[in-house]
């Protein structure tokens, strides 16, 4: 188990490293992007400012030297955030708890709701409860979270004023306010995923519900509820855990971007959206590297958790 976790984390580090090279190449060296132009004030700059930028960032040095220097300053936190609010690394780490609250809450709601509804479906399979829930799940799945977030924010928090319009309160300061600020973002991001999970989990549970050990459990006199909870659910959840893990480790560069912008949450998604709009190269590369590290770290964490749940996955082999 520890061996697997080590291998998985090492693979994650390699992925993050390659991603940092790609980000560097994309924003620093491809011929159409002239860093001197953008670092020298873009359209407001002139030859003098561009020469100054070339001097300051060492743009005449060999590319590997520039890469190492840029990465070193990114990891040291020397890169300034775009509206001169200090070290980008600190700004990023201040914003991370907001995003983790959003993603963790949405993930728990999505998986809890999905599994609970799928269990109801399986207990009442082929009856109206089943049909109602699967139809509702398809409907929830078909509303993109972008639209759901926009509608919830615009009507529930802005027009009707039932929830705060923007901002974030840390959990430790005031749990009630924390939940109040995050409830709508959670719903907006979780509902489409919950709809998808109802289908996935229901399919997996229906595959196990006719197995021999389930019949044995029924034969020894367990109630249908206990059969599903103790015997069907444990085996039926394995494929779902995988999908859930992939979805929510990807969330750090996925739905958080627009959900945080819409709900005015000061997390890494909103920070990324602001920074990209600034066309300021070093912060953009820095954010790309930070986000790459966060995404690969959480993917690795999820894979380790999944392997802990399902020992068959622990054998060595290609894993990304």
């Amino acid at each position: 188990m520890i061996g697997y976790a080590t291998r998985r984390l090492a693979a994650a580090l390699v992925t993050a490293w390659v991603a940092s090279i790609v980000a560097f190449v994309l924003f620093w060296t491809i011929p159409n992007v002239d860093p001197a132009y953008w670092l020298g004030g873009a359209e407001k700059g002139n030859d003098a400012t561009r020469a100054l930028a070339t001097e300051k960032y060492g743009l005449d040095d060999p590319l590997p030297v520039q890469y190492v220097r840029l990465m070193r300053s990114i990891l040291n936190g020397d890169i300034e955030c775009f509206y001169n609010c200090g070290s980008l690394r600190e700004v990023f780490f201040d914003a991370l708890p907001v995003t983790i609250s959003l993603v963790a809450g949405a993930g728990l709601i999505a998986v809890g709701l999905g599994v609970w509804l799928a269990m109801i479906c399986v207990r009442h399979r082929q009856r109206w409860q089943d049909r109602l829930i699967t139809t509702a799940a398809t409907a929830a799945y078909s509303v993109p979270s972008l639209v759901l977030a926009a509608l919830l924010w615009a009507f529930v928090s802005y027009r009707w004023g039932l929830f705060p319009r923007e901002g974030y309160v840390p959990l430790r300061e005031n749990p009630w306010e924390w939940a109040k600020h995050l409830l709508l973002p959670w719903i907006a991001s979780a509902l489409p995923f919950a709809g998808a999970y109802v289908h996935v989990v229901r399919g997996a549970l229906l595959d196990t519900v006719d197995e021999d050990w389930v019949r044995t459990a029924r034969a020894k006199g367990l109630s249908e509820k206990q059969v599903i909870r103790r015997h069907v659910l444990r085996n039926g959840l394995i494929p779902s855990v995988n999908i859930w893990g992939l979805d929510f480790s990807h969330a750090f560069g996925g739905f958080v971007l627009y959900v945080e912008v819409i709900f005015g949450l000061p997390g890494v998604g909103a920070l990324t959206a602001d920074t990209l709009g600034s066309f300021d190269l070093p912060p953009i590369v820095a954010l790309a590297v930070y986000l790459a590290i966060v995404v690969v770290f959480f993917s690795a964490l999820v894979d380790v958790i999944v392997a802990w749940l399902d020992p068959r996955l622990r054998r060595p082999g290609p894993s990304t």
Binding site: N32, Y141, P144, W153, F155, G195, D247, G253, L257, V295
Partner: protein, 282 residues
Amino acid sequence: MAGTTPSENHLTDRTVIDGRSTNIVSLDGIPIGPTWHGRYLLGADENGRDLAVRLLYGTRTTLMIGGGAVLLTLLLSVPLAFAAGYLGGRTDALISRLLDLLWSFPALLVGVLLSTAISLNGAQIGPITIRSGSKLIPLVVIGLVYVPYMTRPLRGQVMALRGQPFIEAARAGGMRPVSVMVSELLPHLWTTVIVVSTLLFVNAVVLEAALSFLGAGVNPPEPSLGVLIAAGLNDAVLSPHLLLAPSIALIVIVLSLSGLAEGLRRALDPRGALDLGLVREP
């Protein structure tokens, strides 16, 4: 509906509603809501532009970007899947590693970063020049982002087919690899291509909306569903129609396209044999 273009302003015009002449944009800057008549069917926006016209043109842009992106994905992934699955060995290892790398990052993040990189100064791909602000940027970006999602299932299928006797027979008959791929392997892949393409089309439409919403896709005033949703968001208190119309349009498109994708999957792959390895990112 006719008589105006999607980006033509009618800030000071008047129109007749219920027999009374009304300012299209009131003196407080609030545009009229839906009239349910030919002109201003769904109302106007704060510049007096006809929302129904903008919505139609925007939907066209979104669908064209989505369709073009899926075509680009196909053009790139079919050769890649053939190379990886048929040639195997180092080619396979290299292609699979690269695609896994792209796969391990979320599509929206890669899309936003790529789109920003291209928007900085445009890009040149062979004979095609993409200028900053062009609608080709989201098309190319979305097309690239989804390459692993298409290549993975195709590669798996090519690998499974490679060992079949009819391929061996074709090779024994002296067919060159390219001919084997085109005339022997390709006909077996159509099912996967059609099913995955429709699924990706839904994804591409939603991704376009998200990219444009974040300012990394279609640029205003050019309308697209993402642009219209972003614009409608801030006026939702006084003019809810500006947000509702594009949102409902996007929901209807996604609902009907996923219905189509699901129907095609059931019709072409009734036993669920295809390993799509893909869940739509909602």
